[in-house]
Symmetry: C2
Subunit: 493 residues, 2 copies
């Protein structure tokens, strides 16, 4: 067996343990009764130790070197590189730092759960300073190995190949048109009269509706399921995707679109190439590309008038006892494109969302690069919220810089992925529209050709190319935020 | 850390991996879509390899010897002994034999799935000879290590401490009174007129009913769930018990009692001592004792007139649209105690069940000890069926010796556990009746004191004592089939 084949065997073994962890992780969120938590945590921690040992096995270094000398196909070269990247990222940090960051992060996150509702910034800051300090230490080590800035090294964990130079450029462009576009959209919608859902929408009926929509979206139920959890996610493994959602029985609109969103994640996973299953190169390309698929499904496809017509029809079938006005295409479209300046990112609409991300990006970039200190964050937050959305968070940190979980345990560098996803999605759709009569196809419910484009250009490509190359191969050019602008302008103005 | 403590650590680690396997095993049966099967099997196989490595780690032998020299509590001594037993059983067989038996067993079982409906004995025999040969080889190796007969060594895997001398004695007694008791019961019931369930009993309503009954049986839903699978089982881990059932929508009687049965298994697991969690000594005592708990719930408690009164009331609440005659206590009691001579063990009633087990015991004992050959089995089966139940299976092997899965992959020695369970259950109930007004308590739905007896005497004792000691401590005497006879006589004559 060649060195490369031995490496494949090693990573496939690792992925089998990851499989068990993914299923048990899903179970923990969707199925497990409360009393099972402690023993489960212990079991998952034991698995994490084993997987870390396998992922950082010292003998891999030599094997990589030996495999590099072997005759490999192009795909195998990409596969080897992906293994090496994975190994380097996992072995770079001293165990002591990993343990300290994990401890400080858990402590800060746990306390944050009560500090946030209490608006207790100073209490939060006391724990968070340590999280920031350890994250900076991590970022510096990674930066030294990669020859980039500390923040860029953190971004690279989620969006390999992305830099703050590129992000500065992208968000610099967005900043020029977004605030005024938001103002115009809000003004345009000012006198809109919409029928809001009212009454009782049983979860079981919402699930039946969601399942019908997933079928329309060609989710493969022989390789996946839909269940419920407090925080919706898409987990499991590519051959067995576990999607979750949550239902409010007061309305069906949110959960339904949530299902469309998660289905995008799910189909990406289901569409990953069997040939590279279990290997790092066979994984989804990046967080931004993953989000591009969920946002393609939700924003490009799901909120288009043609798709909303399908949703309207299906929803009316499942909730036939309600006011038919609610299910008119125009009304549902109105509900699904309301623009509102708000404090909370997770509640934000498509148009204001990038403002929330830009703000976080600018703050976390400077924080990790050591240009600002943790105690300055509330003031900067307030300042940028006023600038981008005209809202002040002074003295209101629970709705300001304390609202997200990401920073509490040191996941700096993640936020840009959300907006990158929206931009990739818009760019992919613009390309597809050049090749296919998208509106007609969607109107007829013939989504196959659109999914075939995604399958060919994105899903089946896994991590065989860099993100930038993937985008260029798919669309003929590198990431260009102009497509998002055009999409938003067309939808909201 | 002492050697003994290091051993505890090792076995607790092993149990954490077993935890992941138990949850993923449950998922496979109750949740997984068909397309997830192959990758899951690979992941489970990888886990099995890891667990086998941990369970057979060569360094354990020395550590056992060192731990034996340490000052240990009585419980720790029992714990150490249970570890040693586990290690010995897992290391005794050459890897080659384990692999060959597993392969031959899979092949035979797989082919059996179509050979059984086709009544293809000669096709089955062609594969089965190899399974028997390899099982004999296994039995001989185990027998040599333990100084007992080959068959006794196999029984010991499921019912440690049990011997064929004792089984011969027990089943010898049963054989003297069972056939005539069956005949009398059948005659007595000849003119019984019962209202059979008819109509449609939706699975969702049956689940609600089953859940209500589990609550009456004090199943702890913060440490467990009820789901569905093709073959009902009780899986998961003691802190998170996963029970399954299956519903036929044509009637509710079978599934309801199936839930009562599995709840007995579930409460035993939930009642295992926290102190010994994750260690071999903390596991359930034996297959027979496990079955004694499910049969205690099903036969001793569940089919008593006082408990059936609760079932009748609950069932009528959930299925109020049906004929109230169906839910009279006398009618339900009649349905739950019908005696019928039949070919199939899994469909057998309480009274005829031991006949099915005796027959299998006598055949597998002689087969493993080399006193009969595989080709003689159909004739022996037919002969014994005629003797015990007055039925001939000549030329009808699909309803005869090909009906069970157990022998197809070499699980010889398991069958006696079913009847041992029934005997232990009757003996436990006889003891409890001496201390508690059982009928009154059950009538009032006050099951707490009965469960407290089981918790104190059985559940919390795990594997701290031998089965025989456990039974003597609980009831004042060793296993005595006379209690089962008295119970059956009282119920059926």
């Amino acid at each position: 067996m060649s060195h490369y084949q031995q490496l494949e065997q090693h990573y496939r073994k690792l992925s089998r343990f990851a499989h068990l962890g993914a299923i048990c992780g899903w179970d923990q969120a969707a199925m497990m009764p409360a009393g099972g938590a402690q023993a489960r945590q212990e079991a998952m921690a034991e698995l994490a130790v084993l997987m870390h040992q396998l992922a950082t096995a010292p003998e891999l270094a030599e094997r990589f070197a030996a495999a590099e000398q072997e005759p490999l196909s192009q795909g195998q070269r990409a596969s080897l590189a992906a293994m090496q990247r994975d190994w380097q990222q996992q072995t770079l940090l001293p165990e002591k730092l990993v343990a300290a960051k994990s401890l400080a992060g858990s402590k800060c996150e746990h306390a944050w759960r009560s500090q946030r509702p209490a608006n207790d910034w100073s209490g939060f800051l006391a724990n968070w300073r340590e999280v920031v300090a350890l994250s900076r230490e991590e970022a510096q080590i990674r930066a030294a190995a990669q020859g980039c800035s500390p923040y860029d090294a953190m971004v690279d964990l989620y969006e390999p190949g992305m830099s703050s130079a590129q992000l500065d450029d992208i968000f610099g462009q967005v900043k020029r048109w977004l605030p005024s576009m938001i103002d115009q959209a809000v003004a345009k919608q000012a006198n809109q009269a919409l029928v809001q859902p009212s009454g009782h929408y049983p979860a079981s009926e919402q699930k039946a509706l969601g399942t019908a929509v997933m079928q329309l979206l060609q989710f493969d139920f022989t390789h996946g399921r839909l269940d419920e959890s407090t925080h919706p996610f898409c987990g499991g493994v590519p051959t067995d995707v576990r999607m979750t959602t949550r239902y409010s029985e007061q309305e069906f609109v949110q959960s339904l679109m949530g299902i469309v969103h998660e289905t995008g994640h799910g189909r990406y996973e289901q569409g990953l190439p069997q040939q590279w299953a279990g290997l790092p190169v066979g994984r989804a390309r990046s967080m931004g590309i993953h989000e591009s698929q969920s946002l393609f499904f939700e924003m490009q496809l799901g909120r288009s008038p043609e798709f909303i017509a399908h949703l309207a029809q299906l929803a009316q079938q499942h909730f036939s006892q309600f006011d038919p006005q609610l299910f008119s295409v125009a009304n549902l479209q109105g509900l699904y494109s309301q623009v509102q300046k708000g404090y909370i990112r997770v509640d934000a609409d498509e148009l204001t969302y990038p403002a929330h991300v830009m703000l976080r990006y600018e703050i976390e970039r400077d924080l990790i690069n050591g240009q600002i200190e943790p105690e300055q964050v509330p003031e900067l937050w307030d300042h940028k919220m006023q600038q981008y959305l005209g809202l002040s968070t002074a003295g209101n940190d629970r709705q300001g810089c304390m609202q997200d979980i990401h920073w509490t345990d040191g996941a700096f560098g993640y936020f840009p992925s959300y907006s990158l996803g929206a931009m990739y999605a818009a760019q992919f759709m613009a390309s597809i529209r050049q090749q296919l009569p998208v509106s007609e196809l969607v109107a007829k419910g013939e989504l196959g050709p659109i999914f075939a484009w995604l399958a060919d250009n994105i899903w089946s490509q896994a991590s065989l190319h860099s993100t930038s190359e993937l985008v260029i191969r798919a669309t003929g050019q590198d990431l260009n935020p102009e497509y998002l602008r055009q999409h938003l302008q067309q939808r909201y103005l």
